[in-house]
Structure formats: structure tokens, C-alpha cells
Amino acid sequence: MTYEPPVTDYDYIVENCTCAFCGCNCDDLDYLVKDNHVVAVRHACRLGASKIMEDMDQRLLVPMVRDENGELKEVDWDTALDKAAEYIANSIRPVFYGWSETSTECMKEGVALGEYIGAVLDNQATICHGPSLQAVQNAGYPIQTLGEVQNRADMIVYSGSNAMNSHPRHMARYAVFCRGYFRQRGRFDRTVVTMDPKFSDTAKCSDKWIGFEQNGDYGFYNAIRAVLRGKELYQDVISGIPKEDIYELAEEMKNAEFGVLFFGLGLTHTLSKQRNIDIAIKMVQDLNRYSKWGLTPMRGHFNVNGFNIFMAFECGFAFGVDYCRGYPRYMMGETNTIDLLVRKEPDCFMVIAADPGAHFPNGANQHLANIPVIQIDIHWGPSTELADVVLPGSFIGVECAGTSYRMDGVPIYMKKAIDKPETCRDDEWIVRELKERVMKLREEPNVAPKYVPNPNAL
């Protein structure tokens, strides 16, 4: 890469902004603003900087509706909102998917609308850390905050996660290179282990790389658990790793003063899915017999955890919540977006601050080609190519303030730095407007029928 001179031509600096990209929610960014546009960002990583200095060519600026030729046509806000409300009010099984890149305040309106109409509310966890959330229900959640990691941890394990590529400042700001109260020498006081079939960029800057074979994670964790419980391994090589190495690693993990396991999609996307996480959580529990260990899922979007925490607080379930019976219901593999789409159930799909066009498998997206799709987003993306109504939102953390939850569950208030484009609206406003319009079109809320006990059942 070539050298670039620093940006000196700016009007003013907005300090201590929060990055709206990954689950690290770095809240120490400085935006350099000129003519109401962020021209440079200090302290952010490549990902954060590129998101904040967005691509204005593809910014959605006006509401749009598809005409009869299948072309998007610019319309005014009233027309677009009425059209979207009509689609929602006339649907039997609407799905509201997304929410991870918007504020918790907006989710509040979304839940009200979903409950009123009897929709399924789901977020990106369904395609990333859904199995982790399920495993947490199975096995527990030995979590710690990232501040504790920074100040105390002396052994960091990344499993199935390439932090250098997907959470670039995680190692620098919270886990590895940073100095902490009990870890004054930073990197030198910590041991870093990466477990990944690939020799990833994170593995390249770790002390140890455990390259178990593809889909070998379950066997490997079980082997460590067996060793931790004092058992002997009978096979010489387990999941591609020699048993001597497993003994050595288990010993090292036992002797850590404070260890943390960060796990990513490498575990949830392979064949054993939530069982991988089950076993990783149980391994952490076993390690706690000897030392202090915790774990944290490496959440991808800045507020994906927020939706899960918010929903669990509001209705008792973290994601994939189905209101169609008039009360919240959740069933893995049944009320989740991908399963619903593959079964071709939904008849209206609202995407808010998400991109199924870019992230859902073909088999699920095929159904989006048959049903009306409403998109609330800030950029023209793959989902716009499938959308029938497009409502331009605003950029949380840059153009609009809001609350988000970091990967370890710490809520962070993201402040506003610049004004949004005149023709855009806040996500919260859009969803509230939709809710009010839907309520006018469908006067009766979707409520459960009255419970009548069956006299014969007793």
C-alpha cells in the first residue's frame, strides 16, 4: 500500500465517538468533519474507518417503490410508508428481520409493531451466533467484561475466530497488546493461542496455533475436557492434533491466572453447531476447577447483542421470537428466519439495518423473490435488488444517537456527530410511523384467544 498524507483540511473534530461496526464498539474515535461529512477518522481500524467514511454514491437518499416494470421509482415519504404499511397489514405471516445495526430505541418500536401484527422478530444472530445463544441456555454463560480481560487476563484463546480480520482492534484495545492493571507489560504478560483449521492472520501473531482439522472442533474440546478431568487419551492423534500437544495445552490452561476463550463463527457454522459451543462452555467450567476462566462470543455487529438482550428482557427469548399466536413463542429451527424462508412460510419480509441479499444462502433468498420485501437501510446493497419498498434510514453513531450493547453486554450510548441528509429519517421514526399506519389499516391487534380450560382433561 502507498503512503497517504494525513488529512489536514477539516472544519472541526468530534471526539469520543463510538464505532458502529463490530461488537468491540470502540468508543474512543475522533471524527474529522468538513462540510457535514466525515473526511477522516482517528483511532478506528480499517473496518470502522471505512464504514464511517461511507460511500455517498450508494447512499439511499429518497424513499422508493417498485413500479409495474420492476424499476425503483422515487416517491415521497407518505406514499412509501403507506405502501409498506399496506404490505404489512395485509400479510398473514410477516417476518421483521435485522435490527443489529440500529439502536435499541428503534427496537422498542419494532417490538410494539411486531406484537400488534403477530410477526416474527429475528436478528442476525440467527445466521451467526444463534447456536451460541442456544448453547448458553443448555450449558450456562461464564462471561466477563472486556475491561476485566484487559486488566487481568494472562491467557487468551481465540477459537474459530479471526479477530485480526473481523474485529481488528479487539487484540489491541481489549485482549492482547493492551496494558492492564495486573498486566503492566501488555503483550509480554499474556499467552495467546489461536485454534483454527486455517493459519489465519490471528494465528500468525499468536504464541501457539492449534490447527485442528475441519469439523474436528467437537472432538478436540472433548479431548481437552477428558485431560482436565484426569483421564488418559487412548488415541495418538485427535482431530489432527497429537495427544502430547493436547496434554501440554491443557496443562498451560490450568496454570493460567485468568484465561478467556473468545469464540467466533468457526464454531457455530460447522457441522456440530451448538454442540461445539456446549462443549466449549463445559470446558471453561472444567477449567474453573483449577483457575479463573471466562468466555465471550465474538459478536459481529455493534448491536447484535443489543437485540438479544433487549428481546430477552422484553419477552423472555433472545431471538427468533414468533408473536403469531398472540404471545411470544420461540422454537429453534422453527421460528428462525432461515428455516421460515426455506419452508416458504413468510408472505411479507421487512429488512431493517441488515442485508439478507448479501448474507443468506440462495435456498433461503429464493423465497424473497416471491414475496414483498421492505428495506430500511442506509446503502443501496444486495437487498435493494430484491426490495419492493425502500426507506432510507440514518446512520446510528454518526448521524443519529442511540444505545448499543457491546459483545460482553455493556451498554454504550453512541452520540451524534453530524446531521443526516435532509431527505432521510431516523430508523426509530420510520418504524413508529409504520406502526401507526398499520394500526389504522388493521384495527384489531393480534391477541391470543381466551384460555378456556378443558373440563375433560382433569
Binding site: D9, V39, Q58, S166, L271, I338, P361, H379
Partner: protein, 189 residues
């Protein structure tokens, strides 16, 4: 106005030259998908219609030994097929090599065409560890908008894959009501 630059036409890959014709036409591999920093930066900036996203996301990262078997070089095109579909992507030497027998495609519309939607009742599709074949091809890699039109055909009447693939490109900028972005008189709308 001087902006800090975050654009990068193509991801940086090891400069390995493959010589020779290759020994096989079809290579059997294991497919993994996921994100990398180039794909993430380009996607979240919003530059999804651009050539940059095509190169960042529609690229199959391979072990150089696998590339030698097929006789392909950096930025040649390959056809990747699985039980769930097929797609044409670029190929490039992986930064994480060696991983002979495994190929990596970043998540995005290209990878979606060929990954498994099976969730095994766990909500999460199987994005990793899918059996695939890789072969050399002359077909070109489609831009995002063209690819979405080719795969889902939501707004075209044509059913034939080959015809849709060779239709006029939708280009690298948004199309507003049949008018290209450049044709709009007032860009601020």
C-alpha cells in the same frame, strides 16, 4: 476535498506465479466461507455495486498447489459448483496458505449461491465445510446487481440462465427508475 482513502481496487494477495498447464480439469475441494477485512471494509462502506466488492467478495482463495493443479493464476476466473448451485468467481493465492484441498470464498452474494441452507434445526445455515468442485472457465464474474438478477430473477421476465447472464450490465452505480445515476441532473435528488 481530500478524503482519507479506504478504497482498494483488489485485495492484496501473495504474488505467486503459476506456470504450466495444470494436471486436472476439475478439482474436488472443501469450501469454507466467512469474512475477511477487505470484504468487510467494502461491504460496510456501502460500495456493494462496485468492482471493488466483486473482487473482495467474489474471489476464491486457494492454495498455490491447488492452483497449479488447475493451471490458473491470480485473478483468473474459476467455476465453483456445489450441490446447492454454481457461481463464477476470481481465484487468487490465499494469504493463509497452506491449506491444500480447502478453498475460501468471502461471504457475499457470490458465496451465497453455493452454500448450504441446511440448518439442521439450529437456525444457522451450514456456511462452512461444504464439498465443492473447482474448474477453469472463460465466463466472467458478474457484478453484484447482475449477479442478483441472474440468481433470483425477481424483476426480469426471462427464465433462461444464459440469457440473463449475458444481458446488459446494470452497472456500478444505483439505477433510479430506469435512469442511471450519472443521468440524474441533480445528484442530490
Amino acid at each position: 476535498m481530500h478524503y482519507a482513502n479506504t478504497y482498494l481496487e483488489k485485495p492484496v494477495v501473495p504474488d505467486v506465479k503459476i506456470t504450466g498447464e495444470g494436471t486436472t480439469d476439475v478439482l474436488k475441494c472443501m469450501l469454507n466461507t466467512g469474512s475477511d477485512i477487505y470484504q468487510g471494509a467494502c461491504k460496510k462502506r456501502g460500495s456493494t455495486l462496485k468492482e471493488e466488492y466483486k473482487n473482495a467478495s467474489g474471489t476464491c482463495y486457494m492454495d498455490p498447489r491447488d492452483m497449479a493443479k488447475l493451471g490458473v493464476n491470480n485473478w483468473d476466473t474459476v467455476l465453483v459448483k456445489t450441490d446447492f448451485g454454481e457461481v463464477v468467481v476470481n481465484c487468487a493465492v490465499s494469504r493463509d496458505a497452506p491449506h491444500e484441498g480447502t478453498v475460501f470464498i468471502c461471504k457475499g452474494p457470490w458465496a451465497n449461491t453455493i452454500v448450504s441452507h441446511d440448518t439442521y434445526c439450529c437456525s444457522d445455515p451450514t456456511y462452512k465445510g461444504i464439498k465443492c468442485t473447482v474448474e477453469k472457465t472463460d465466463r466472467k464474474v458478474l457484478l453484484m446487481a447482475d449477479l442478483m438478477r441472474w440468481v433470483y430473477k425477481k424483476y426480469v421476465d426471462e427464465e433462461d440462465d444464459d440469457v440473463v447472464e449475458n444481458m446488459e450490465s446494470l452497472g456500478e452505480l444505483p439505477v433510479y427508475h430506469g435512469r442511471k445515476w450519472e443521468e440524474l441532473i441533480d445528484h442530490d435528488l
